[in-house]
Symmetry: C2
Subunit: 246 residues, 2 copies
């Protein structure tokens, strides 16, 4: 008999809390690192990238470079000297990456992907592909955990706000329920932020990387809804676009 009951949605504010999540299988994990890894991945796939090999260490990233791969590698937002790309979503809009494979190493995003790779489905989310993500999750009939990559294992505001936006859409579909306080909190933050998403983040946080919002032309893009038609997802250890290849 097909399972048609409501599915659960949960939010995990940082990777440090993921191990304690007791979600029933089968479940999908949505990995979120709004500033900027998962936004960049959405951007790259919507510009025709074929696949991404998530890479955990800089050594591994260097090894892929010597093997001739395109490589994206950054630490604390800075592109590394041996790499072709960092994690600015705008780079990937302009880049000649159609049909290519990219080895991708990034501070928080790769670690979160690695942590959640044992889930039944792992997909990549951002404000830029919010409605694509919503559609896909509703159709899949899986429990959902939104895994915020955070900032060095700490709570990051922008990831939590996104989690609230996604959770709200899933709950309003009538096909999801929640028992999770983090979902309640994330929805509250989304309600507060949504009238002016970019300004909310500039005003709300004094953290340097968010003050830098004004200095980095890619940041407004990270807070723009539904500009990417792509759904990066994990298949056999690589990210592909589930809208194209699933």
């Amino acid at each position: 008999m097909e399972d048609t009951g409501p599915k659960t949605v949960e939010v995990c504010f940082t990777p440090a809390l993921f191990a304690a999540i007791g979600t029933e299988t089968p479940y999908a994990v949505v990995v979120v690192d709004i500033l900027r890894a998962t936004t960049a991945l959405c951007s790259a796939f919507s510009n025709g990238l074929k696949s991404v090999i998530p890479v955990a260490t800089l050594e591994e990233a260097r090894a892929y470079k010597t093997k001739g791969y395109l490589v994206a590698a950054e630490r604390d937002g800075e592109i590394l000297d041996f790499a072709d790309y960092g994690n600015s979503p705008l780079e990937y809009q302009k880049a000649d990456i159609q049909g290519k494979t990219l080895a991708y190493c990034t501070t928080n995003g790769t670690r979160a992907i690695d942590l959640a790779k044992g889930s039944d489905s792992l997909v990549i989310g951002g404000f830029v592909n919010l409605d694509v993500l919503r559609e896909w999750l509703i159709n899949r009939n899986l429990n959902v955990v939104v895994l915020c990559a955070g900032w060095k294992n700490q709570f990051a505001l922008e990831d939590a706000v996104f989690a609230g936006a996604l959770a709200e859409r899933l709950l309003e579909s009538g096909k999801f329920i929640t028992h999770c306080d983090s979902v309640v909190a994330a929805r509250g933050l989304w309600q507060e932020a949504k009238p002016n998403l970019l300004q909310y983040h500039v005003k709300a946080s004094h953290r340097q990387r968010l003050i830098d919002i004004g200095q980095d032309e890619s940041i407004p893009y990270c807070f723009t809804l539904n500009v990417c038609r792509a759904l990066p997802g994990l298949r056999n250890g690589e990210l592909i676009d589930f809208l194209v290849h699933e």
Copy 2:
């Protein structure tokens, strides 16, 4: 030269995130478990309790009982058979505990105290002693970390809302600053909750222990501001009332 610069305030949403907090010393930790351990402690001290021995395991709690101590022990909100008290704050209002010492073992609260005992000062907070706590922290001139006990290492809404209430008071004093996204989020939740604190928690969460709000007569007390004149704090491994003994 006396250090008169502003101090920082940070919020740690669960004990699982405490290790990654990089607060500069000297700092004070405020341990919070609104439902119900830290609320109960405030209630007990405001009814004249002399001291509390925080106990980590049930075996240890039993051992104190056989030595003749008063013992408080609960698991998942239920008082255990060998114990004198659980963690209902109302029990302690009625109890004959003046001048006595209590061995206290509770699900989340004791663990959080144990985790933070290396800080320069450890105090116990709840809505019930909010302004006492505020005054004391402002006078002490220490950096502050609000450590939410959470629920089995997961985010708990009521602890986060309290953290927002306390952080707001410290920031509005002009003597504190923050660089912490968790503080921004917690303040947002407090703003949303404060018009009707109890109702917010009933409506917001579907978690069973919060649905139980209507069934447990002690819960409204846990969301009542400033009804306890007590400030439990750690000294030589025991909690005493810093308003009386410091």
